[in-house]
């Protein structure tokens, strides 16, 4: 067994899986075909449904992945061979040359400015040009340039200009053999290429673009700097049409649904509207599939607040007016009416296809693909490709970012489950020398000013800045460097610290966001506390933005150095304290989510307590009789329960509830109703949800009206009925429950198919609003129609009515598609009522974690932290979070396991050094600060009447400090006097 994992694909899935593994004691090799990691998310402008800026939320993960000492990036690389068995694979990786020495390149970008060659910019979806030597985007990780050898003319300009001597034209491919215990495939997806769809004119008509192209157009860092203009003439479009299902749900291209396009189109239309409020945005669609958490509400707001128009129609065909280059759409609505409408621009909502490499990956790794070319998986093993090899994200089917991230964590848990015994064997901890005690010392500051090749030095007069720095108080050493970040300069800095007894270091160079950790580590190697370092940015925020005013830039650089030195004088060493971790878990809820999480934690080697309020395990899964793909849920449940009961690490507490939870991450104590007290380091909330019991459609008044789950139970015993009518969206997507319950459309299809299979003569009707059989579930919807199940769409304004006439039931329905009234005489009416949360208020208070508007638990971040709470050490999975399918629940439960392992795999957790503190002398106990803290890290000590900071929970934002009226609260490293010193250093001369 080998304590390392290979992750293939460096998009958001690959990064998340790598971080979770690396943070829980495993070495990771992250392989990407491209020269940089980041994947598709790096191209997005914003993300739905919160409209978060994509780069903003992803950049911290990019940096963390790039910097993690247990993650080894292998970019520009292909996998060519895999040998061995689970626990011990040998993977041969071909490293393609980038013609730039990754060790030497500082990412300064000078080469690209001088490169005379232009090439199509793929990152900008071919809407702009880049240079022959390039990085995809400024935040790229690793920030190492690459030469596009197909375009390169070999002029040698870059080689001449690069002062780091990083250009290596003669690099050749090399091979590397990597030994790993498990493998995760996170190869992502490729987009459907609409060129084949002649009727849309893509490629012929300039103003027809794909959604990803439009995403770049929307982006502030995109081809038009965030101005929404159309490609043909740079005019602002006043009418934009979005065409859904291009390359999805289509006999001729891809039959499956791409699962994300309805939402991304709505998002793009909203953003475009925000750019230009007069814009008319129209979305042409077949079914609006806004099925995820918060999606339906987003769709409703898109109409009511933003005034987007949605037209249900077949995908239109497009003609261009050659004069105006406007686009004429011809579309057919459900009733057969054909309409023409003109638009200035058309966005094609192109579907997701398997990655181009999928066949190759399948062959090399010996993993199965499904009919569509995505990775094949089983409903109860959604993350497994085969023994020892796991998959996550869009490679196993189209999915959105939160599902992808949950799966990525889940795959990390599966992979590490195989090699849990090897935890910690291959990770490296850096050892630093004993820290010099500077407490009694007068500050002795060393200032290093960087030329950054000519990036800084070409504009800012570096020698002058250096000269100036030497006149500042307590500065005893100054130096200038060609590249302060280069390896040899680190040695120079260390030497200077030693020779001149420096106890503070200031670097004036590029941005601390990427380079501070490097310099901090350097001074640590020289025996200084890393917080005795201060950095100021005279490149990105000075020489690069004042290129035409070198004198002003030099003045500014001097000011910035003076400000940094002023703060440096007041810096103090910071230590993170550490607290012991109880290396065990508590899982609340014994349904499929909780059972899976408990087993996952146990397999990782940790003791786990599983608490279930009922007398038996299984939760809602006990009521599921069939799956769409034909497995037996009860058999699976029995096996799962047996594995739990057999596992020595698992303690099952059925018929038990949680009475009280005290403590915080790493150290919780929970009192159970049984009187037992449990100590645990993490907690997984998996309390599940329930089928909503409706008050309408004679439910409870006539026994011929049942819910889907009740019907499923009847089906397993045998149903006698000539006509069965199913009604979807009962008390969903309306005033009772605003949200969509995600699973009901597919459940209805599943049960209808089962009924037809058992009783082929029964007439089955499904009355629906939008059929939301997303992703591969579309095939069952197709099959249902083939099997004669009648689908009839109704509008919320004209809902079906059910009445009892004599002894029989009569259903009045208005078919919205045909605009016709119908009367049906069902023997049985089945209501799809959706999922409701339990009353979670007590638990939410005990754990101090929030609920959303609908009563489900609210995650820390909708996109990137789908199984975490904002409160550290508490995680969630399953229906407690939102309605979802079994496979999604299992993925999420494993996701919670991986996230939990990042904590309980450690004996101690370190607190953040930059956190808030309270001067007990000054605190008057007014408690103004307490509600300011979003992490519940502040608490009143009632005895002493002062507020205390829980150092483990504090994240160091400083909002409490700003609120403190007495100055008792301070933020380390950003103390009032430190900030003031900078202010004064600038303005007071």
């Amino acid at each position: 067994m080998v304590g390392s994992v290979m992750v293939v694909g460096g998009g958001i899935a690959g990064m998340q899986a790598s971080l979770d593994l690396a943070d829980s004691g495993f070495r990771v090799y992250l392989v990407d075909k491209a020269p940089t990691i980041g994947g598709v998310m790096a191209q997005l402008d914003k993300t739905f449904p919160t409209l978060d800026c994509s780069m903003c939320i992803m950049a911290p993960k990019l940096v963390a992945t790039g910097r993690h000492h247990n993650i080894h990036l292998l970019t520009n690389a292909d996998i060519i061979n895999v040998e061995g068995n689970p626990g011990n694979f040998t993977v041969t990786v071909k490293m393609n040359p980038r013609f730039v020495n990754a060790e030497k390149c500082t990412g300064c970008g000078l080469c690209a400015q001088y490169c005379p060659v232009e090439a199509v910019n793929e990152y900008d979806e071919r809407l702009t040009l880049r240079r022959g030597i390039y990085v995809d985007y400024p935040q790229a990780v690793p920030l190492v340039y690459a030469i596009d050898r197909e375009k390169c003319i070999g002029c040698g300009l870059c080689e001449n200009i690069c002062q780091a001597e990083a250009i290596e034209y003669d690099q050749t491919p090399s091979e590397e053999k990597v030994n790993v215990g498990a493998i995760i495939l996170a190869a992502g997806f490729d987009e459907f290429e609409p060129d084949t769809k002649k009727e849309y004119g893509y490629g012929r008509f300039k103003n027809v673009v794909t959604a990803t192209e439009f995403e770049r157009i929307l982006s502030a860092s995109g081809p038009f700097a965030g101005h929404v203009v159309r490609p043909s003439d740079g005019e602002i479009p006043k009418r934009i049409a979005f065409l859904q299902c291009v390359g999805s749900r289509d006999e001729k291209s891809n039959k499956y649904c791409s699962a994300v396009c309805c939402m991304y189109a709505t998002k793009e239309a909203i953003i475009a509207k925000e750019h230009n409020p007069d814009l008319e945005a129209t979305i042409f669609f077949m079914d609006m599939r806004t099925y995820g958490k918060g999606f339906e509400q987003f769709y409703q707001r898109a109409q009511s607040e933003y005034g987007l128009s949605y037209i249900r129609s077949r995908v239109p065909c497009i003609e261009e007016n050659p004069e105006t280059q406007n686009l004429l759409l011809t579309y057919e609505t459900e009733d057969g009416t054909i309409t023409k409408a003109e638009f200035d621009m058309v966005v094609l909502s192109v579907g997701l296809e398997p990655p181009k490499s999928s066949q190759e990956l399948s062959t090399v790794f010996g993993v199965p693909l499904n009919d569509y070319g995505f990775l094949d998986w089983k409903i109860f093993e959604p993350l497994k490709a085969k023994e020892g090899i796991y998959a996550c994200g869009a490679f196993s089917g189209p999915k959105d970012i939160p599902d992808t991230v949950a799966q990525a964590s889940g795959a990390a848990a599966m992979a590490s489950g195989v090699i849990s015994g090897e935890r910690g064997t291959l990770v490296e901890e850096k050892v630093y020398p004993q820290e010099i005690d500077v407490a009694e010392q007068q500050p002795r500051i060393g200032v290093f000013v960087c030329w950054c090749g000519i990036n800084i030095g070409g504009i800012v007069n570096v020698p002058e800045v250096m000269e100036y720095a030497s006149t500042l108080p307590n500065v005893v050493f100054v130096d200038q460097n060609l590249y302060t970040c280069s390896q040899d300069t680190q040695e120079k800095i260390k030497q200077a610290v030693e020779e001149h007894n420096l106890n503070r270091v200031v670097v004036a160079s590029c941005t601390p966001r990427t380079h501070e950790p490097l310099f901090q580590s350097t001074i640590r190697e020289a025996g200084l506390n890393p917080y005795l370092f201060e950095m100021t940015n005279i490149r990105d925020q000075c020489s690069w933005v004042h290129m035409h005013t070198p004198e002003e830039a030099t003045e500014k650089a001097k000011d910035l150095v003076r400000m940094a030195v002023a703060k440096s004088n007041l810096l103090e060493p910071l230590k993170s304290s550490s607290v012991e971790v109880t290396q065990s878990g508590l899982v609340i809820g014994g349904g499929i989510a909780g059972m899976t999480a408990a087993l996952g934690l146990a397999q990782q080697g940790f003791t786990v307590h599983l608490v279930e309020k009922e007398d038996h395990l299984g939760g809602l899964l006990r009521s599921i009789r069939f799956t769409m793909s034909g497995e037996d849920p009860q058999e699976y449940l029995a096996t799962l329960e047996q594995s739990l009961r057999d596992h020595p690490n698992v303690h099952i507490h059925t018929g038990t509830t949680v009475e009280r939870i005290d403590g915080y991450v790493g150290n919780f104590t929970t009192a159970l109703s049984s009187g037992e007290e449990i100590r645990h380091g993490i907690c997984v909330v998996a309390v599940g949800g329930q089928e909503h019991k409706p008050a309408s459609y004679l439910y409870g008044k006539d026994e011929r009206v049942v819910t889907q789950l009740e019907f499923e139970d009847m089906l397993s015993k045998g149903v006698k009925a000539k006509t069965v009518v199913m009604i979807n969206c009962v008390e969903s997507r309306d005033d009772t429950k605003e949200y969509c319950s995600r699973v009901c459309c597919s459940e209805a299809v599943k049960n209808a198919l089962k009924l037809k299979e058992k009783n082929p003569d029964t007439n089955v009707y499904i009355l629906y609003r939008d059929m939301r059989t997303y992703a591969f579930r579309e095939q069952y919807y197709d099959r249902a129609r083939e099997n004669g199940i009648v689908f009839m769409r109704y509008d919320p304004e004209t809902k079906p009515r059910l009445e009892k006439k004599g002894e029989s039931l009569v259903l009045y329905a208005h078919d919205a598609a045909l605009d016709l009234d119908f009367e049906l005489h069902p023997d049985l009416v089945v209501l799809s009522t959706g999922v409701s949360p339990y009353d979670n208020s007590a638990l939410s208070q005990m754990l101090k974690v929030p609920l959303d508007r609908d009563g489900f638990f609210l995650e820390a971040h909708m996109k990137l932290r789908p199984v975490d709470f904002a409160t550290d050490g508490v995680f969630m999975a399953g229906l407690a979070h939102s309605p979802k399918f079994i496979d999604e629940t299992i993925s999420q439960a494993y996701g919670a396991v991986a996230r939990a392992c990042t904590i309980i795999s450690k004996e101690r957790i370190e607190t953040e050094p930059i956190i808030a503190e309270v001067d007990e002398e000054l605190c008057c106990g007014c408690q103004v600060c307490i509600p300011m803290c979003p992490y519940n890290a502040r608490e009143l000590d009632e005895e002493e009447n002062i507020v205390k900071v829980n150092e483990v929970l504090c994240k160091g934002c400083g909002s409490c400090v700003a609120a403190c009226p007495s100055g008792a609260a301070q933020q380390r490293h950003f103390r009032d006097n430190q900030l003031s010193s900078m202010i004064e250093a600038f303005v007071r001369r």
Partner: protein, 136 residues
């Protein structure tokens, strides 16, 4: 010519990144602002703003993440509330509240950041140097 001095408090996660991106994109703007990096815009308290003006700053910019994007969940909402208060406070001190500006810049908005600094510099040029106690 009179050149205003501007202090810019930039949060680490979005607005500081926006300022960096303006640089990587080589978008040019006037050199009047000096940035002070803080972890979150909510760290800024009225005292810092006042101290800046009292010591002779002609303008103060506070920049944070867009609403909903704060790295610390809700810091920028708190900043927004304080901003309203700070403007009132400035008026009471006889300082033109236009000298203080709050802006949201995402890490993809290098252009916006440059524009904000440009606009602010221009506005302060017309407002002239700060004169405490002289009706400014």
């Amino acid at each position: 010519m009179y050149e205003p001095k501007i202090i810019g408090f930039l949060c680490n996660w979005c607005s500081y990144a926006a300022a960096d991106l303006a640089g990587t994109s080589r978008i040019q703007y006037p050199s009047n602002m000096r940035a002070i990096r803080v972890m979150c815009s909510s760290r800024i308290d009225p005292e810092h703003v006042l101290r800046a003006f009292v010591n002779g700053a002609d303008g103060v910019l506070i920049a944070g993440c867009h609403p909903g994007d704060c790295h610390y969940i809700s810091g920028n909402y708190k900043t927004e509330r304080k901003y309203v208060l700070m403007r009132k406070m400035l008026e009471q001190f006889g300082i033109d509240p236009r000298r203080l500006r709050l802006e949201w810049c995402s890490s993809a908005e290098g252009g916006k950041f440059a524009q904000v600094v440009t606009e602010m510099t221009e506005e302060l040029r017309t407002l002239g140097p700060i004169q405490l106690g002289a009706g400014d």
